[in-house]
């Protein structure tokens, strides 16, 4: 039986999606990217300690790893907090041949995070 649960004083909040806006002006691409001006890409951050890993989208392996981490933290790291569900966006831009290009990109927006 695991007696060691999530540390109450953990500096990391549980694994979840955080807001991240990719601003094309800030990265200097605004002169040739027509649209969008940016997009909400988000990112994953937080701990995957036991029992957090059981409450969000996690692989069975990650649940067991989090359990093992709770009893042997020195030898077993916790699972990683990563994107598990993403969605696409399209980008309209000029290329170096003066064409207007619309390109579809998969996996650009983090919709959901989980432990892996």
């Amino acid at each position: 039986r695991a007696t060691y649960l999530a540390p109450l004083d953990s500096p990391d909040p549980p694994c979840k999606a955080r807001r991240l806006y990719i601003n094309f002006r800030e990265v200097g691409w605004h002169n040739w990217i027509i649209a969008p001006r940016g997009f909400m890409a988000n990112y994953c951050q937080g701990h995957c300690f036991f029992p957090t890993a059981t409450k969000i989208s996690s692989l069975n392996h990650a649940v067991m790893q989090s359990l093992m981490h709770s009893v042997a933290p020195a030898t077993t790291p916790p699972p990683c907090c990563v994107p598990v569900k993403l969605s696409p966006i399209s980008v309209l831009f000029y290329d170096n041949s003066d064409n207007v290009v619309l390109r579809h990109y998969e996996d650009m927006v983090v919709d959901e995070c989980g432990c892996r």
């Binding site: 691409w29 040739w32 969605s87 399209s90 003066d98 207007v100 290009v101 619309l102 990109y105 998969e106």
Partner: protein, 242 residues
């Protein structure tokens, strides 16, 4: 970011290459964005400006997604759409002879296509703009030829010239569209990286059009290609089951 010299750092180049982006090296482009490209963008998988802005968490509302890697408006598979202008647009139309009203070479540089991209649509658009509205509402005989081996200094003389289509069009008031992949000569072979075409037009009836009108038509003609390709590497299955 781009250094002042206009050259990209190796890291920036690698990043752009990964995303399949090749930004213009010079000042910001001023070419207007064609309405079809705006329309396709707005019908894309998201309204990107607002996507994910409601909340960043597992409670995000799910909206119905369009078919992946499919350009719904054009009815073809694809994940890259390019609008390519006629490279010879600045050249004045050649003075036509006889009953011909217009004879104009069209050049399209498609060398940017990556070998791994599969062509699914090459649509030629001919738009005669405002002067087209001045043209008499009558039938026009239009022919499009594929040309190879242009003779130096002779814009309308070629080693090889082959008629791809002849068509009667009822009016020039609306844009004309031609599916180039449906034309046997181009659709059945590797599509040329440099596409040279010759457009010929003559009035369908025995009308004595003033030469000035033909010249106006030639100057107002805007030819472009809408090229749709499918890059399978950009189109992965959304979920994998073991």
């Amino acid at each position: 970011t781009q250094p002042p010299s206009g050259t990209l750092s190796p890291q920036a180049s690698a990043l752009l290459q990964t995303l399949g982006l090749s930004p213009p090296p010079g000042p910001p482009p001023t070419r207007p964005v064609p309405s079809v490209m705006w329309r396709l963008f707005r019908r894309g998988p998201e309204a990107a400006e607002t996507q994910g802005s409601e909340s960043a968490g597992p409670e995000m509302p799910q909206e119905p997604q369009p078919l992946p890697c499919h350009v719904e408006e054009l009815g073809v598979p694809g994940n890259i759409v390019r609008h390519v202008l006629d490279g010879g647009a600045s050249a004045p139309p050649e003075p036509a002879l006889g009953s011909l009203c217009l004879e104009k070479p069209l050049f399209f540089n498609l060398s940017f296509l990556d070998p791994k991209e599969q062509l699914t649509l090459v649509r030629l658009e001919l738009n005669f703009g405002a002067p087209g509205n001045l043209a008499p509402a009558q039938d026009w005989e239009l022919s499009l030829s594929y040309a190879q081996g242009r003779l130096w200094g002779q814009p309308l003389y070629w080693h090889h010239r082959e008629v791809l289509l002849r068509r009667t069009v009822p009016t020039l008031h609306d844009p004309l569209y031609f599916d180039m992949l449906a034309l046997g000569r181009l659709g059945n072979s590797t599509f040329p990286q440099n596409l040279s075409l010759v457009l010929e037009m003559l009035p369908g009836r025995d009308s004595d059009l003033p030469r000035g009108l033909c010249t106006k038509l030639g100057h107002s003609l805007e030819a472009s290609l809408l090229v749709v390709t499918l890059d399978p590497q950009l189109c992965q299955p959304t979920s994998r089951k073991r």
